[in-house]
Point group: C2
Chain length 186, copies 2
DNA sequence: CATAAGATACCGTCTAGACGGTTTGTCAAG
DNA sequence: CTTGACAAACCGTCTAGACGGTATCTTATG
């Protein structure tokens, strides 16, 4: 007899809400803040409702992971399509996405979430696989020391963005990006 | 009247044990594995004993953090003393320490622990401060784009070491390090 | 140098609450 | 009228921490 029982059913929307809320909570309170109670409550759904969409907590975290890597994947593919040079193409797309991440305020949550995910051993392994798979796929064009270094530097910048430990102005960012792009061609 | 009551008291050793065990647990089971019960039991101390040395869980985590940054600090100072060139001296010391970290199998735990620590918002803030302080201290010699990039790349490599996502052979590592040292002089 | 007095280093038990998950029930849409 | 989408109550386990007690260590004093 609750309100939620009477409202229009919209499972896909609720599912999305749950993922979004879980991401926000991990941003604000760290990985420990992502509890079934907290997530379901903040999403305006009962715990039973949450567990209907994700049969257990791991499934929720995996869903989060899939969501993130999916977006990343698409952004990278998009960038690669617009790059005529084969050598280092993946690396440049990667740079592009990571740099964009640091500049878009919307994407902030995205980043801290990644840290939270990394603290879960199972998800760390999944990420390892993701990276290894991509390194493998583009071994012909993106395995030079220059490309590797460029991607490492991008990761470091991404980490710095998360921690907000340096504040780097736009000009500096662009200069660094140019230098890394040059590295990717090397 | 337990055995432990009668054994020789050795507070400093017990304290060290507790920190060591906590680090090991976070390595093996992720941040969630670091519970007062697990740590105290694995260290052969009662939970009361643990809470005598560290009045609450946060104090234990802070202790871990202090331990790690302390070691890092000393290693960096040591390296800096042996570097005659002023420009980029801190960056090169940083590179040296981070590269050494990836090569020393003993230091493996060190790394994963860092991830676990980063998932705790309070400790993430402490790390941010650590980085910002050092960047500030050496702003005269280590704030060029080259130095910044070199340190970012080192962080990226460190992340890769944690995830074991790439396996980079020794020659490649040395080549990359040489390139980053060159960057630090730029 | 012996020893009493206090400080320090623990131990073992207990508790309140949080957490992941189960079960049972209710409503609505096709 | 069956099934998918939830709600609500409940359970067992785990966790952080409080607490009171006991054994060892240190230091000051006679």
């Amino acid at each position: 007899m609750s309100i939620a029982h009477h409202r229009r059913k919209q499972p896909e929307l609720v599912r999305q809400q749950l993922l979004e809320v879980a991401a926000r909570l991990s941003l604000e309170q760290g990985a420990a803040g992502v509890t079934l109670d907290a997530v379901s409550q903040a999403a305006g759904v009962s715990k039973g409702g949450l567990l209907h969409h994700f049969p257990n907590k791991m499934a929720l975290l995996n869903g989060l992971f899939d969501d993130l890597t999916g977006k990343m994947e698409r952004a990278i593919e998009e960038e690669m399509r617009n790059d005529p040079v084969a050598h280092g193409r993946f690396t440049r797309a990667y740079l592009s996405v990571v740099f964009a991440l640091g500049e878009d305020p919307d994407a902030q949550g995205w980043q801290v979430l990644t840290i939270a995910l990394l603290s879960e051993p199972h998800l760390r392994e999944r990420w390892r696989l993701w990276v290894a798979d991509h390194a493998d796929e583009f071994v012909g064009t993106d395995s030079s020391p220059g490309c590797l270094l460029a991607r490492f530097a991008a990761d470091g910048l991404w980490l710095a963005d998360i921690l907000k430990s340096h504040d780097i102005d736009r000009a500096m960012r662009q200069a660094m990006r140019a230098q890394l792009v040059a590295l990717s061609l090397q």
